[in-house]
Symmetry: C2
């Protein structure tokens, strides 16, 4: 019989068949690469080929795939279709997930018009907005509906994923409504930190943050000699009201 294994120090703590978070974040990239190879009529690919297509190093790719099982063939590589199916199954996109989008402004419109979600395992079942002048507008096949209908829609369409594209102000309130209605995964575009109860997953997309990270590295490239002098902290910390205005604004 199998002896009760004591955890080796350094081994990642992971529940049965749990996959490291860093790996989970790369699986969709592999899935996309496999789909591209498949569309090019390629039936088999080595870890090196796949790693190149996915923009990662091949050892990392092999280790990532090894968490799913042994789906390759030594000396040969991976069967593209088979591996694609296995990854899709592991991620959970062999069937479609129902999604609602809340806040049909600039960004909400763009998402609603985007055809890429359908081919990647998601089905947008409702576009919701609180603005009465938007309700009833047609976008592609869909019609904008009133945010008040949220609970009904979530319940009848088994919606588990919500996307927030409202301004920052109402975002927490919208988030709470989504959670109360039964949504357990949220993708947030509003520039604000949302708090959710345990059991609800939240991810954020923040374009200003991405640009600011680029700006940081850009600044170092262009030579730090160009940096302004560090103003020293005065003896008293008061009287600092007239510093130059700086980026980092809050709000919609």
């Amino acid at each position: 019989m199998t002896p009760a294994r004591s955890r080796r120090p350094g081994a990642p703590t992971r529940t049965e068949r749990g996959i490291p978070e860093a790996t989970v974040a790369r699986l969709p990239v592999y899935l996309r690469a496999l789909t591209a190879l498949s569309d090019s009529g390629i039936a088999t690919a080595s870890s090196e080929d796949l790693a190149t297509a996915a923009g990662v190093n091949s050892a990392k790719l092999r280790k990532d795939l090894s968490y799913l099982g042994s789906y390759g063939t030594r000396g040969v590589g991976y069967d593209v279709e088979y591996l694609r199916y296995q990854i899709a199954r592991e991620i959970g996109v062999t069937q479609d997930w129902a999604v609602v989008i809340v806040g049909i402004g600039n960004l909400g419109h763009a998402l609603a018009n985007y055809s890429g979600f359908g081919t990647r395992g998601f089905r947008i079942v409702a576009l919701l907005d609180a603005d009465p002048s938007l309700v009833g507008e047609r976008i592609g096949e869909m019609v904008v509906r009133d945010f008040a209908e949220l609970e009904e829609i979530v319940a009848s369409d088994r919606v588990s994923i919500g996307v927030i594209t409202t301004p920052a102000g109402p975002a927490q309130e919208v988030c709470d409504r989504l959670v109360a209605a039964g949504v357990t995964s949220i993708l947030n575009f509003a520039p604000v930190v949302l708090s959710v109860p345990d059991g609800v997953d939240i991810r954020k997309v923040d374009l200003s943050i991405e640009l600011q990270i680029l700006a940081y590295h850009e600044q170092r490239k262009s030579g730090e000699a160009a940096l302004p002098e560090v103003p020293e902290l005065p003896a008293t910390m008061n009287g600092l009201t007239d510093l130059p205005s700086v980026g980092g604004g809050v709000g919609a």
Copy 2:
């Protein structure tokens, strides 16, 4: 005098005043939290307060800030305005960075209409598209210009950041053009892995990947008993052409 320090084992390798990547990614969040506190009229905040506002743990926040210098006061906390300025300076958003957006479709329109960049250290100097029927269209204060004008614009406006919102197909080509024109930081929305030479930074935003990560966790929440059986690999790997179609599509 300062003795030449030999690297302690375990200490992160970092060039003079270099900041760990994970910290750099959080500084914009702190900046936003500080701006919010400042707008609420709060002049001083403890690491605990700030950490709550930024959605991180306070030890992490203190360690992150310690890479910038000692800007707090023991027993008191941090001066909100002063710290905000220091972080903005470190990120490099005390002045605006010029940005071009390439591909003015659904997403490009949304970004062009977004007012949030201006208040966070960025100035959109041009909207570019290859489609002649779009060139000349007015969006807010700006007019869509021909992609062919790229080089001229980059040179005359000292543009160092480019945003790609074209379909996946032309994205690499557009990327190469941007780099050749002198752009050294790129934010990519197209679902494709771009390759760039050393010295050019690239970040990607991929909504389908975000949703798929949520789907993975969602699947585990709803009980794995619901998972389809794992199909076994047949003795030969051929003849696998009729697997169910799965999410992960490629293309625009």
